[in-house]
Amino acid sequence: MNPLGKLDWTPVLLSCQVATLAATLLLPAAIAVAWWLARSKSPMRWLVETVVNLPLVLPPVVTGFLLLILFAPRGWLGSRLGAMGIVLVANWYAAVIAAAIVSFPLAVQAVKLAFRQTDRELENAAQTLGAGPWTTFARISLPLARRGVIAGWFLAFARSLGEFGATIMIAGNIAGQTQTIPLAIYSHANSGLSGYQNAWPLVIVAILLSFAALLAGHWLERRAV
């Protein structure tokens, strides 16, 4: 019997879309924060680093709860966005936000490590050749850290695929909109033994996808020398 025969592709495609968008959107911010963390001598660095890493260790449900308070239509940010007609809870965007926030620290760590490893002398050389800070960053530091950036993207993508707690808090379980693979599995697993049967194909796909994402990241990282 083909275990993937009964696979519902909707959550799979949705997971891929949400994870791709989340990883792509968070990357510029992750690069900026990673750059600052790698190069700043500010005494506040440890504090910023701790805050950035918080979603890594916080229960995702707590992250989701905080996001809910922030983005709910009565929340501090949600009320302002609502006035502009933007709603970022209980819909597809919410799933992307939840995934992006939770996987942000992973991307930052990977990129930061790459920036730390780049030779400062090369940046100095670029500056003495007349390149300003921005040109130096864009043409030297960033290209040299590209393996870290690639690794960061794939780590964020893989983490986003697995995001559950924060997503169900602010996005809810909406079939076709926010019901990603983990939410669909949870939903099935709650439906008794027949649900377990239905969950299996998704569980297999989840494992394969995560494996492929990490492998692809690793492979690209090595290739991009």
Partner: protein
């Protein structure tokens, strides 16, 4: 053309306090390691900021702690060749050579691009990656890259230290050739007296962060 008068103290207590007055031409800063040579170059390039003092090139201050002037590195027009060539590994030799020209938004003519390539025999290397070059080739590219950004002052921090004797002499020849041909004022740091004498119009002897012997020997090679 360069008035240098700075004090810089490292975290470990080692301090450098030097006053220098350089004419055009090539000046060698000579002294053992730990004598403060590299510190002087870093201060002129703007990579570090002195605790006290000023640096003036052609009458304009690029650093002055009293007037709170600290021109950013990339606006100083000071080229620098470090102890290792520091070629950008993700660019071809050609891109490396063009980096300074593009950063300073200069034309090929303005930097004598083709003549530089000829003078340093870089033509056959242009499309290669820095990783595939020999030590001597890398040094030539680094020299060409620095000159192609049209610096008004060129700093060299023991650029020959990692080369073997034969290559070293070859590079010294190239160096002497381009310096005199493009008339770039140069400060050349070395711990090798023979090198210092061979290339420089003037040798300044440093030890323990101070000048011990300033000997501006006259030379026909002096420029300007």
């Amino acid at each position: 053309m360069l008035q240098f008068n700075c004090r810089y103290r490292y975290a470990d207590g080692f301090s450098v306090e030097i006053g220098l007055n350089l004419e055009n031409g090539c000046t060698a800063l000579f002294g053992p390691s730990g004598s403060g040579k590299t510190t002087v170059l870093s201060l002129i390039a703007g990579l570090i900021i002195p605790d006290r003092g000023s640096i003036i090139i052609d009458g304009t201050a690029i650093t002055d702690t009293e007037l709170r002037i600290q021109i950013p590195v990339h606006q100083r027009g000071v080229g620098m060749i470090a102890q290792t060539p520091q070629l950008f590994p993700h660019m071809t030799v050609r891109k490396n050579l063009e980096f300074g020209r593009r950063a300073r938004k200069l034309g090929f003519r303005e930097v004598d691009h083709d003549q530089l390539i000829d003078a340093l025999a870089l033509g056959p290397l242009l499309d290669r990656s820095p990783a595939t070059l020999s030590g001597g080739e890398k040094s030539r590219v680094a020299l060409g890259r620095a000159l192609a950004s049209r610096p008004r002052l060129l700093l060299m921090d023991e650029p020959l230290a990692s080369l073997d004797e034969v290559i070293k002499h070859q590079i010294l020849d190239y160096l002497a050739e381009v310096i005199s041909r493009w008339q770039v004022p140069t400060v050349f740091v070395t711990h090798n007296q023979a090198e210092a004498v061979r290339i420089a119009d003037r040798v300044v002897h440093l030890a323990a962060g101070e000048i011990v012997n300033d000997n501006p020997h006259d030379s026909e090679r002096r420029i300007g």
